[in-house]
């Protein structure tokens, strides 16, 4: 329990450091006013807007103001939308979570059977196809895969909707797009850790006892490969969030990723900050959950 409290408390300084880094990056990246006004905006308009947004203050004043507000849970208003940034981000959170969870499910559904299958048939043609597919899955960029899936399943075959969010069928293509890369990574990991486990003495013992292969593989071997699998799922959360940026844009999925891309393009500091904070929070929490799950999966692991 102490360990848990310690880990939770650690989140605070981590988020604080992240906020500083992001603030500095956005600050040096450029002037948002330049992007809020059209090409032919007179200088007078630029100055007026800069003053009204408080952007003519020096860095430390802006950062100080930001920290004070942040501590009160106020991330400021979006320059672009003129609304509270955090509520804009939270409004989109369900869409991103829905996509992320669906992608992980897709990845699990592909990776577990494929990884186990290829490990039990090591060096067979099945193994070759599975490992080849894993390399391919990892190598395909999300935006390319997304566009290809749309062309095949929506435009040519007319089976699934092209984009947007609404019904279950809208979720299929983006989840596959995002899940493929993770599935690839997971397959390779499951295969290699299964191979390692399968060569252990206790597996040979189980086999020599005359147990059925299915029981040996799933009950004796697979449960021992779960620790690395859970690790990879947790670590993939950050990849997943990075992936949603692109996948959400390709599929016009109204989640945090799309919001963040637009915010970066328009230097909408408040939105960028709020998005990064929410994403960082999720990554940290996922890692924490993974650490706690280890104990459940492998009773030998104990934290103090």
């Amino acid at each position: 329990m102490n360990y848990f409290i310690k880990r939770v408390l650690e989140i605070i300084p981590v988020l604080f450091i992240i906020s500083f880094i992001v603030f500095v990056l956005v600050f040096v990246a450029g002037d948002p006013v330049a992007l809020l006004l059209p090409e032919d905006a007179p200088e007078e308009a630029v100055e007026t807007l800069r003053t009204s947004l408080g952007l003519d203050d020096p860095f430390y004043v802006q950062y100080g103001r930001y920290v004070v507000n942040m501590l009160q849970g106020d991330f400021g208003d979006s320059f672009r939308y003129g609304q509270d940034a955090m509520s804009l981000v939270l409004e989109r959170l369900p869409a991103t979570l829905e996509l992320a969870i669906a992608s992980i499910l897709v990845a699990i559904m592909i990776a577990i059977p494929l990884g186990i299958w290829s490990s039990t048939k090591k060096n067979s043609s099945i193994d070759l196809v599975a490992t080849g597919a894993a390399v391919l899955g990892k190598a395909m960029p999300n935006f390319w895969l997304g566009i290809m899936l749309i062309l095949l399943f929506s435009v040519t075959l007319d089976m699934l909707p092209v984009s947007g969010r609404g019904s279950f069928s809208h979720l299929i293509l983006p989840a596959i797009t995002l899940g493929t890369g993770i599935a690839a990574e997971m397959t390779r990991l499951i295969r290699s850790s299964m191979l390692e486990t399968l060569s252990q003495d206790y597996i040979r013992t189980a086999k020599s006892k005359g147990l059925r292969t299915g029981i040996v593989v799933y009950k004796h071997a697979f449960r021992n490969t779960l620790v690395p699998v859970v690790t990879i799922i947790a670590l993939q959360t950050s990849t997943l969030i990075g992936g949603t940026l692109i996948t959400e844009t390709v599929f016009a999925w109204p989640g945090i990723g799309q919001l963040l891309i637009q915010a970066v393009n328009t230097r909408d500091m408040a939105i960028v900050q709020a998005c990064v904070m929410v994403i960082a929070f999720f990554v940290i929490v996922m890692n924490l959950i993974a650490d706690l799950l280890y104990q459940v999966l492998d009773p030998r692991i104990r934290y103090k």
Binding site: G30, L151, D158, T249, V250, R267
Partner: protein, 524 residues
């Protein structure tokens, strides 16, 4: 352990279902508004779905300066007067009539019986509130386009006067563009502006239903619209689809009826597909190369500027990079704008031999080296155009080192006046008046950035700025454009095109102002 794994799977599935259902309330009836296939079912048959590239910014008409946001607003708000896209004339909209009383005063009469979507009648008080809000609101983004208005004087419920600080020949153009929508003053006073932003009402043919950010904006037809209820459409949906190829795919599969900004790479796909076509129109945006006239730069010599212009084959750029969609021009003022000079339009100067002679006369027989800044991805084929121009300049011995820049950095470079010899820029003109376009050549506006100056031009621009005689004012602007062309102040390349993919089930002609007037879109 097997059980635990199943439990984990079930947990994830439950989470997914929970998340998927959790925000149904905020979305309203998501299934209902989901456009799906635009061509199936009776209800969908009366739904018009338009795919746009970026989300709307706000319902605060005075605080966005964003063409694509205004393209949506025009369907729920009305201006006092509007520009007839066929004739270019300013015609009444909410106003019944208007009259110029003196150099500083315009008198308007409102149509009677116009109602906002909540049933309130439109009166002079709404006009006063709307125009004065932006004329006095320094923090609003369109402030500088309206602060010429001194006050709106109410005569009676349907009559009012707009009084300006200076004689204002372009007043009617000013109030028939972005930020000219008339807001419901009573509704806003009673409920507050924040409430209005969440539940906006206007006087237009469509009324607001919901805005799911980054996803869609939904409207329904307004039965009591003063121009008559729309006969074709019950529901209007704007879907936000940022990725070009996805937007086009939605059009091809019938998911949307209109897809804006179709990139040249997809033109053939849209044209050749059964059930869709490409609608093109010239926009009011002109692509130009700004040159430094600052002393010390080779381009400060008129002969060098002229040589650079003569080296560029504008026609070849339009043909090879834009598939013929674009009009080469020597002036920034396009047809449909007040002060248009016909003899400078749809033509260009191209004579590489003469260009070489001019360079020699100017003392650069072997050419020179220069820096050419260009944004990438901002305008149609901008980077390709910059490269082609540099190639053409190389033919006359001028080496242009192109510096491609991300848009915000490019804007900053200009703001800091750190631009070098030349940069590529596209400029629109929502005012549809030469005043707005030619302001770019006044010496004060670009001091330190281009440093172009011609005293005769300065006088002409100043005189035209407050000239209330339209005929004389138009002549002044035509003469101004001739001077600019002779001086080759900047190089004007071409007018850009608007490229929109349209479903065969509807009739739609894009307009030069880039607005999407659903009233003009009919079912076949």
């Amino acid at each position: 352990m097997g059980k635990k794994l199943w439990l984990f799977g079930l947990l994830m599935l439950a989470l997914l279902i929970f998340v998927a259902c959790s925000d149904k309330d905020s979305e309203g009836d998501a299934e209902d508004t989901n456009p799906g296939k635009a061509e199936t079912g009776d209800e969908n048959d009366r739904t018009l779905t338009i795919a746009i590239g970026a989300d709307m910014v706000t319902f605060d008409v005075h605080d966005h300066i964003n063409t694509s946001t205004e393209a949506i607003h025009v369907n729920m708000f009305n201006y006092l007067v509007k520009r007839d896209n066929e004739t270019g004339e300013i015609v009444p909209d909410l106003a019944e009539s208007f009259e110029n009383i003196d150099d500083y005063t315009w008198e308007f009469k409102l149509k009677e019986g116009v109602t906002f979507h909540n049933g309130d009648e439109l009166t002079s008080a709404d006009v006063k509130y709307s125009l004065e809000r932006v004329a006095y609101g320094e923090e609003l983004r369109d402030y500088t386009n309206y602060n010429q208005i001194k006050e709106v004087e109410i005569i009676d419920d349907y009559t009012f006067r707009i009084i300006t600080h200076e004689p204002e020949p372009v007043l009617l153009n000013r109030i028939s563009r972005i930020a000219s929508g008339i807001l419901p003053s009573k509704y806003i006073e009673e409920n507050g502006f924040d409430h209005f932003l969440e539940n906006p009402i206007g006087t237009g043919p469509f009324q607001f239903v919901e805005w799911v950010r980054d996803d869609r904006i939904v409207f329904e037809v307004y039965d009591d619209y003063f121009g008559g209820k729309n006969p074709d459409w019950d529901k209007l949906v704007f879907r936000i689809i940022p990725e070009n190829s996805t937007r086009v795919s939605e059009l091809l599969t019938g998911g949307v009826d209109i897809a804006v900004n179709v990139p040249p790479a997809d033109w053939e796909r849209v044209e050749n597909h059964e059930g869709t076509y490409l609608a093109q129109e010239t926009s009011n945006r002109t692509l130009m190369i700004f040159l430094r006239s600052t002393e010390g730069y080779p381009t400060s010599d008129q002969r060098v500027r002229e040589a650079l212009d003569l080296a560029i084959d504008n026609g070849a750029i339009v043909e090879s990079l834009l598939g013929g969609a674009g009009v080469p021009t020597i002036t920034r003022v396009a047809p449909g704008n007040f002060g248009f000079a016909e003899h400078l339009y749809d033509t260009y100067n191209y004579d590489p031999e003469r260009a070489k002679e001019l360079l020699e006369e100017a003392g650069y027989p072997d050419g020179f080296e220069m820096t050419f800044h260009s944004p990438r991805g901002r305008y149609l084929q901008d980077a390709e155009i910059a490269e082609m121009v540099a190639g053409m300049w190389a033919q006359i011995g001028v080496t242009a080192n192109i510096e491609f820049m991300e848009w915000s950095n490019f804007v900053e470079l200009r703001n800091a006046k750190e631009n070098k010899d030349a940069y590529l820029l596209g400029l629109g003109n929502s005012m549809f008046d030469a005043a707005n376009a030619l302001d770019y050549y006044s010496a004060t506006r670009f001091e330190g950035e281009t440093d172009y100056r011609n005293d005769e031009l300065e006088e002409l621009l100043a005189a035209a700025m407050s000239n209330m005689d339209p005929k004389e004012r138009s002549e002044q602007y035509v003469r101004a454009q001739e001077i600019i062309a002779e001086d080759v102040a900047h190089i004007v390349l071409h007018q850009e095109s608007i490229n929109i993919g349209v479903s065969e089930r509807i009739n739609y002609t894009p307009t030069m102002d880039e607005m999407i007037y659903v009233e003009t879109i009919t079912k076949k």
